[in-house]
């Protein structure tokens, strides 16, 4: 599974629409197996969504994101986990451990909202059997 997080100053970039750097991490069997960073120069939302899809990102964990961009990413097949904040490595670790649902990572003002995901990796199976496993 390929996970991506926009980064800025070691933290999740606050607004994905204008984020400049993307950390791309390959995760296999609950462990990080490789990472790279790419520049995001696309100013246009549609181009930005296509770029993320072209990188082969399955899950995008980001901060604030405008709804049209989120819709474009979703329709391009990227699962978006929006409104996350905090140090990138902590967020990534929590995602891999299936603990991203913790409110500590939700942006202020987004807490108590109806959640659209359940803590990053899907629960319900033994470790290493999340539904994203076969997609990497």
């Amino acid at each position: 599974m390929r996970v991506a997080l926009p980064t800025w100053d070691g933290r999740v970039s606050p607004v994905f629409d204008v984020a400049r750097r993307l950390l791309v991490v390959d995760v296999e069997r609950d462990a990080e197996v490789g990472r790279s960073e790419v520049d995001l120069e696309e100013a246009r939302l549609a181009a930005r969504a296509s770029r993320v899809a072209a990188i082969g990102v399955h899950v995008l964990i980001c901060g604030a994101i405008s709804w049209p961009l989120e819709a474009m990413l979703t329709s391009a097949g990227t699962r978006v986990i929006p409104r996350m904040c905090g140090p990138v490595d902590d967020v990534l670790r929590a995602f891999i451990a299936g603990q991203l649902a913790s409110e500590a990572f939700l942006m202020p003002g987004c807490r108590g909202r109806r959640r659209r995901f359940r803590g990053g990796r899907r629960h319900g199976g033994p470790p290493g059997t999340s539904r994203w496993r076969g997609m990497a």
Binding site: P14, D17, A43, R44, A47, S66, P108, G109, R111
Partner: protein, 455 residues
């Protein structure tokens, strides 16, 4: 936890302000957050305090052009910068922000303060205003256009033939479409045909259609545009370019409302409203014998003369706004508008190609401008060089002298002809400026507001 009376008083004052206000410490964590800030961002004070300002504020500039960092770097406060923030639902909220540094009594930086204003209402008002100056997709607030807007519904309501006259790019088809969409025929088809673009035989088969077997390769019946437009409106564009033979066929149709498709034995009756358009002076064509007088009288029932763009310059800013909005939507860009200097250039141009030319100019600028404001250098070179061409002859190639002349002429123009002010901006003595104006042969505006001294 008890708060000091002073802090409580400050909070009360901040809460009474309609603008959002928050302060940050040196590590960019929020230390105070007023009620308006809560309302605009949708983040409660409790949640905001102690958090990184970028996670709370979520502004388009946080990452690249943080207003506070910019203020700290330059030492100059930022006032009313237009940006957007994202709310929890992913909606962009347009705001204007101002930023300043906070210092303690010993002049040490202890953080910063940002104030911001929700511009959603302003945006709504702007849209409302735009609607006021927009009529069926046609933009204008000039007296000429408003007069046309007033006429349009009445013209649309009638069933009479309309002749639209206007130079290329003035929006003849747009007006024809507006007449159709405002008329009781709006549910039927609007069909446009450019009479000037087609040779006679093709125009005939396009307009009137043909029957199978009418000529070689005519295997099936083809309905003409007139038949397609039955019950609706047809626009005969470039009517002045129609050949005499075709003119007589059109005349017959206008008189009898019937026509015969090529190869047909029975005439067809249709109910079509005709709107004719031309960029030529049909009166002159009639006098020259190129255009049939009887046809002219048939189509000249209601006549609309569309003004050229150079005759309604006051509409240029509105049109520019419209095109910027259009290309933002089409190209998914975020161009805020046009800088003052670029707008001044756009206002000065004569637009032989009218609104279409202006649209092309904005499209050109969109290719070069990635965001922010469209500046002078984003405009087509021909437009930029116009100011240059008003400068000394024979010095158009960019020699040092020519550049100097352009620079000086620009400065004088910026100051409305005030040479003293221009000299101050250029950092030279007024007498040096006068000498340069003379030696470089720079043309001057009629009056000199800043210098009444007679030479």
């Amino acid at each position: 936890m008890s708060e000091s009376p002073e802090k409580r008083a400050t909070e009360t004052i901040l809460d009474s302000i309609a603008d959002g206000v928050f302060t940050v410490d040196e590590s960019w964590r929020i230390t105070s957050f007023n009620r308006a800030a809560e309302q605009i961002t949708g983040v409660s004070r409790k949640e905001a305090i102690g958090q990184m300002c970028s996670d709370v504020f979520r502004a388009s500039i946080c990452e690249t052009q943080c207003a506070l960092k910019e203020t700290m770097r330059t030492g100059r406060p930022i006032v009313n910068k237009a940006i957007y923030i994202l709310d929890a639902n992913g909606r962009r909220i347009p705001i204007s922000i101002s930023a300043a540094i906070l210092k303690d009594a010993a002049d040490n930086v202890i953080g910063g303060v940002e104030t911001f204003r929700d511009l959603s209402m302003v945006e709504e008002l702007r849209k409302e205003l735009e609607e006021k100056y927009t009529f069926a997709d046609i933009v204008g607030r000039s007296p000429a256009m408003r007069q046309l807007f007033e006429l349009l519904p009445r013209i649309a309501d009638s069933n009479s033939t309309v002749l639209i006259e206007g130079a290329s790019g003035t929006g003849k088809e747009l007006f024809a479409r507006a007449i159709h969409s405002l008329s009781p025929r709006r549910d039927k088809r609007f069909v446009a045909i450019n009479c000037g673009a087609l040779p006679d035989t093709l125009l005939e088969s396009e307009l009137f259609g043909y029957k199978a077997g009418a000529f070689t390769d005519a295997r099936h019946d083809k309905p003409g545009r007139l038949a397609i437009a039955d019950g609706g409106t047809i626009l005969l564009d470039e009517i002045g370019d129609v050949s005499p033979a075709m003119q007589s066929r059109l005349l017959r149709f206008l008189q009898e409302k019937t026509f015969e498709p090529l190869g047909a034995v029975e005439p067809l009756q249709v109910d079509v409203r005709v709107v004719a358009a031309t960029n030529q002076d049909l009166n002159k064509l009639v006098k020259k014998g190129i255009f049939r007088q009887d046809l002219f009288y048939r189509i000249n029932v209601i006549r609309l003369k569309l003004p050229e763009l150079c005759d309604r310059r006051e509409d240029i800013p509105l049109l520019v706004d419209r095109f910027v909005g259009k290309f933002n939507r089409l190209q998914d860009k975020d161009v805020a508008g046009v800088s003052e200097e670029a707008l001044a250039l756009l206002m000065e141009h004569d637009y032989p190609g009218n609104v279409r030319e202006l649209e092309n100019v904005i499209e050109h600028a969109f290719v070069l401008c990635r965001g922010g404001l469209i500046e002078r250098h984003h405009l087509p070179p021909a437009l930029r060089n116009e100011t240059d061409s008003k400068l000394p002859r024979g010095e158009r190639a960019l020699t040092l002298k020519a550049l100097e002349a352009i620079h000086i002429a620009d400065a004088i123009r910026r100051h409305g002809g005030n040479r003293t002010a221009a000299a101050r901006e250029l950092g030279i003595d007024p007498s040096t400026l006068f000498r340069k104006i003379k030696s470089l042969g720079i043309p001057l505006p009629g009056s000199d507001h800043g210098n009444r001294k007679k030479e």
